[in-house]
């Protein structure tokens, strides 16, 4: 249903244009969940914005984004507007700012329905539908919350409203950009459960973006690991968690608190970290982008940019020349 190939996003800067996303390809089927993971600055959000055609003005995308057989990158703005909202919904990281503070939450859900369906539904029908959606995203006492303003709701409830807004038109694809990062852990679990149930009930596809491999491993059928604007590993989530082939994926995994020991306690002493930070676009090291932080880097890693390979079967791709030795 969603088929991205060779996507690159370049941003024009006074020093010339730099690529913030390069050579990203992925595919997502209806009812499936794809997790995109990486640190801040790895290009995850740019990938999401490029998919719906909402890149900042200075950025431009090349490649191909096929959605239901239509290339979104060549679509005109008016046609793109009809796809957004109606066919693709999106939720954002910060539920505090993702809702209009000057409009009641019920109306924010209803007006999306009114806008896209136009004359087919009246205001009253749209409101009834909005109320139904509020129930569906498990807002307690939806009837009463309908006329509340965003500042009167908690962060978790606001995120539920944002999900209801995105769901209003029954999109075929939902893009969730760090949907739980700003929420506390218990609320995070509720929101993830909700998203999971919605995917199962509606059969929509979900693209969930997170810096937290824990969130991704709970939610996603497939996982795409991004580093410095490039995909470095992609495959079945279970496969990636069990046999991480890229040193960066390994680093992310060992930086994740693990529940194991008795009583679900966190085992092991201090968590591992990946030293250093993601290099800024335009200041990339020669060769493999991860060399500066990679414990396994060799001279041949710095010699040239590694290609995307599938040494472990067609379903598991990696961008590392030493993948086989490291997993052996």
């Amino acid at each position: 249903m969603l088929e991205i190939s060779g996507l690159a996003v370049r941003i024009a800067t006074p020093q010339g244009s730099v690529a913030v996303v390069e050579d990203v390809s992925l595919s997502l089927a209806a009812g499936a969940t794809l997790g995109i993971v990486g640190e801040s600055g790895s290009g995850k959000s740019m990938l999401a914005l490029a998919t719906v055609g909402l890149l900042p003005q200075a950025a431009s995308a090349t490649g191909r984004i096929l959605f239901d057989g239509q290339d979104l990158l060549v679509l005109r703005e008016a046609a793109l507007c009809r796809v957004r909202g109606a066919r693709i919904g999106m939720i954002f990281q910060e539920p505090m700012t993702a809702l209009n503070p000057a409009m009641t939450v019920g109306d924010q859900i209803a007006e999306g329905i009114l806008w896209h369906r136009g004359g087919d539904v009246g205001r009253r029908a749209a409101r009834a539908e909005a109320l139904r959606l509020m129930d569906r995203v498990r807002i307690p006492d939806a009837q009463r919350r309908f006329a509340a303003y965003p500042h009167e709701l908690s962060g978790g409830q606001r995120q539920r409203i944002a999900i209801a807004v995105a769901l209003a038109l029954g999109p075929a694809l939902l893009i969730a950009d760090e949907p739980t990062t700003a929420l506390d852990v218990t609320v995070q679990a509720e929101i993830l459960d909700l998203l999971d149930d919605l995917v199962r009930e509606t059969g929509m596809a979900l693209m969930i973006i997170s810096h937290d491999l824990g969130v991704i491993s709970d939610m996603a059928d497939r996982t795409l690991v991004m580093y410095a604007g490039m995909r470095v590993e992609e495959g079945e989530t279970a496969d990636i968690l069990r046999n991480p082939a890229h040193p960066y994926t390994r680093g992310l995994l060992s930086a994740m608190p693990r529940r194991g020991g008795r009583g679900g306690k966190v085992v092991g002493g201090r968590l591992d970290t990946i030293p250093g930070a993601v290099p800024a676009a335009g200041q990339l090291p020669p060769g493999c982008r991860f060399t500066a932080r990679c414990p396994f880097a060799t001279d041949s890693c710095r010699a040239g940019e590694p290609a995307w390979r599938t040494p472990f079967g067609p379903d598991h791709g990696v961008r590392c020349i030493r993948a086989e030795e490291l997993t052996a």
Binding site: Q57, G85, F92, W115, V165
Partner: protein, 280 residues
């Protein structure tokens, strides 16, 4: 739920004083359309230059016209011209500012530089230019003050709208497939309205002052329609003999401007969330 969540808020004294004063002038202006003690244009040579209380409450001018009646009718002229011209500037300014914020790029640059050019001319200068083209009168005053107000509101609207455009809920609205026009109406305007209302009130005060200045120069409503500015002008000649002729309209102008300014300050205290947070 909503009622309880919001703490009971006492209205600031500036708002009450400004609202009261402004309300009084508006009431007097409206009343003058139906009733004044005398006809404000009736000339009574026998009663010329009477001090207050000797003929009518506030005395008479050099034509024996009743000063209170002239003041009341003048209030209507002053306030209506100020109101219509600010409304004109508000509507066009907001349209321009919001369009600039929504479209960005070349349009924004052109609109804002044009605003700078208009802004460079004081209202009185542009009024003289417009009067040279159209002749004097109320329309000239409205156009001159209105045109002067466009860049004021365009700048404020653009600045506030740009802030709103950077918010996530705008991104969410765009992700929902809405175009810039709809986003401006649904999401931008309601969120910048507060500041614009405050500025509108303050611009009204400025407009009353400018209108008085224009009619003082003879660019306001044509005689015999009474106006505060021309009353002041007429009073110059008789300043020694009948100082009340200058004092009465002068005080009226000062109070009307004071009332509108207090109202603007009070509204700002109530509406501006940043100030509200500071006050705890």
């Amino acid at each position: 739920m909503r009622k309880r969540a919001r703490p009971a808020r006492r209205f600031p004294p500036t708002l009450l004083a400004g609202g009261g004063l402004t309300g009084f002038f508006v009431a007097v202006a409206v009343l003058s359309r139906f009733w004044t003690p005398e006809s404000p244009t009736r000339v009574r040579v026998a009663l010329r230059l009477k001090p207050p209380l000797q003929a009518g409450l506030l005395g008479t001018d050099h034509f024996g016209r009743d000063l209170l009646s002239m003041l009341m009718a003048g209030a209507w002229n002053s306030l209506s011209i100020a109101f219509v011209s600010v409304l004109l500037g508000l509507a066009l300014g907001i349209a321009l500012g919001c369009a600039a914020a929504a479209l960005r790029g070349l349009f924004e640059e052109a609109a804002m530089r044009a605003a700078d050019v208009v802004f460079a001319f004081p209202a009185v200068i542009s009024a003289i230019m417009i009067a040279a083209l159209l002749g004097g009168g109320a329309t000239t005053a409205i156009l001159a003050i209105g045109v002067f107000n466009i860049p004021v509101f365009a700048r404020i609207a653009r600045g506030a709208a740009l802030q709103v455009w950077a918010r996530d809920y705008i991104l969410a609205a765009r992700a929902a497939g809405k175009g810039p026009a709809l986003i401006t109406i649904q999401h931008v305007l309601p969120n910048i309205a507060g500041g614009l209302v405050v500025q509108g009130t303050i611009q009204l005060a400025l407009a009353v002052l400018t209108e008085a200045g224009l009619s003082f120069l003879g660019l306001g409503p044509a005689p015999p329609a009474p106006s505060w500015g021309r009353m002041l002008n007429d009073a110059q000649t008789y300043l020694g003999q009948a100082p009340h002729l200058a004092i009465v309209p002068g005080v009226a102008i000062a109070l009307a401007v004071l009332g509108l300014n207090l109202l603007g300050d009070g509204l700002r205290d109530v509406i501006d969330p940043k100030l509200r947070r500071q006050r705890g």
